[in-house]
Amino acid sequence: METSRSPSELKREFSLRRASALSGILHSRRAQVGFGIIIVFAILAVGAPIVAPFSPYMFPAPGRPYAPPDSRFLLGTDNLGEDILSEIIYGGRVSITVGLIVAFLSTGLGTLIGILAGYYMKTIDEVLMRATDMVLILPALPLMIILAAYLGPSIRTVILVLTVTSWPSVARVVRSQTLSLRERPFVDSARVAGASDSRIITKILFPNLASIIAANAVLMVTTAVVGEAALDFIGLGDITVVSWGTMLYWAQSYALFNGAWWWVVAPGVCIVLVGLAFVLISVSIENIFNPRLRSA
């Protein structure tokens, strides 16, 4: 059946199929909500200097300490009198950027290791997967803490530590998919046609894995944003930089006993919203590419 069609016809069909998958994602209600949330936060982050009413590092601070939300300070002020809304807007820049960078790095690393292990099998698979299992089974947070304690607090440390602890789950998923893909007839025919290993991996396996990698990468942003907040909360990030995590770090010591609930609620709600947005998109990507899930 497939052989009766010319390469250009096939190409057109594939691009059509890809376009319909993309529009399928854009038309799912979940993904729309997710994209909506992300667009709002992206605008706030990019336009921070214009959108934010104050600078989060203003000295002297614009308000009195622990001012509850009112018309001037929509989300109230912190212990120094800085505007919480401005901190949220500027903090989002750090939290979301770290989330995206970590998602990109860890998905890249996990994909590389997963494909190599799944494609070459035998010794390479054994070595890579034992390493993966080792990192996977170690409790993530203690591992992050000990790494961060040795590397010293900074945003670079947070990115590195989150990447090191989060690639194994991607590697596992990609490997198992690669294992089943490599037995398919079209991989055999490529090999018979004389394609090199690197060509099979980059031109045949990778495009077929793209949807599952994308779903994982998007989900990884959520993991990274939450993980970043946790590290900052313990004080292992750079506490002088305003992020949603460092806001909670300072709030933990000052907010509760001064009744400044707005200071605690705002960053947490933002973390949940952004995290949820990426989960919703990830779920709808998976639903589109894995029809079995649609009925369930």
Binding site: I137, A140, L141, A149, Q252, I271
Partner: protein, 298 residues
């Protein structure tokens, strides 16, 4: 490691004379080469009790003895909350998985998703603020009331006091870890209910509850054993943060203090013991699985 580790011991104690610093270097073995230190580490690890060195923060107590003081409280928190989470998650999973697509199912899946994204520690802070600080129903910190001292939860006779203190931290852990259990149980239930033996059970005229709990749920529960093992690392991580929020005297609070004090020997020992505990638990889960499911052979 930034700076010389010994300064983190010496500075808070205002020790500055070169002779004293040199003596400290010798005391902690830091004057030896890295290679010799590494060899010593392995030798000490396999002695009994395992020697992780001396804590900077709790000097002169050994790292191992300090950890053993805090570990039972974390085991108590993690153990009880894991059992509770599994029970609640399985029940909700059975209920929602038997009616996929219903309002109850949609609501439950949405709640699970929100809980899954919610940072453990933030949920803890909110609960602390609402129930401990504002309403004052529960204590703000600690594992026991003032005056009650115990080395582990088992030594406490006043169970009410113990549970009163553990209530909020445990609720946080259960709420945050619940999502994984309920979602996976739901999906395996949906899967099992489409199998032929369920059709047979219904054809035999069994009551719906017998079909759900006696047939489907029993088979759907098998993957939960593995999940408990896999989830444990996650719950332990969560427990660390929750202990910090509630000042609960477990290894999480200890880790936090060790980080603040740059107590490197204590951090190393903590990481080793926590990882060992999680690995052993995973191993036990694997063995249990093979025991329950005769198709699995190792």
């Amino acid at each position: 490691m930034p700076g010389n580790a010994i300064y983190y011991f010496a500075n808070p104690r205002i020790i500055a004379t070169p002779g004293a610093l040199a003596a400290l270097m010798r005391r902690f073995g830091l004057d030896k080469s890295v290679w010799v230190q590494f060899q010593l580490y392995w030798v000490n690890l396999f002695s009994w009790p395992p020697n992780f060195g001396v804590s900077y923060l709790y000097y002169p107590a050994s790292v191992f003895s300090v950890i053993m003081q805090y570990l039972p409280w974390t085991l108590f928190l993690v153990g009880v909350s894991t059992v509770l989470t599994a029970i609640v998650g399985i029940l909700v999973g059975v209920l929602t998985g038997s009616r996929p697509g219903s309002k109850l199912d949609t609501a439950s899946v949405s709640i699970s998703m929100i809980l899954w994204t919610m940072p453990f520690f933030w949920l803890g802070i909110i609960l602390l603020w609402v129930f401990a600080i504002s309403l004052q129903w529960f204590p703000v910190s600690g594992a026991t009331s003032a005056g009650i001292t115990a080395n582990s939860p088992l030594e406490i006779h006043d169970a009410g006091d113990l549970l009163w203190h553990a209530f909020l931290p445990m609720t946080t852990l259960v709420a945050a870890a619940y999502a994984g259990y309920s979602l996976i149980m739901r999906n395996t239930m949906v899967n099992e209910l489409s199998q032929d033996y369920i059709l047979l059970a219904r054809a035999k005229g069994l009551r719906e509850n017998a079909v759900l709990f006696g047939h489907a749920a029993r088979n759907a529960m098998l993957p939960m054993i593995t999940l408990i093992g896999l989830n444990l690392g996650y719950v332990v991580s969560g427990a660390l943060l929750v202990e910090i929020v509630f000042s609960y005297p477990g290894v999480g609070l200890l880790t936090y203090r060790a980080v603040l004090a740059h107590d490197y020997p204590l951090l190393q020992g903590l990481f080793f013991i926590i990882s060992l505990a999680v690995i052993i638990a995973n191993y036990l889960a694997d063995i249990t699985y093979a025991f329950l499911d005769p198709r699995i052979k190792y």
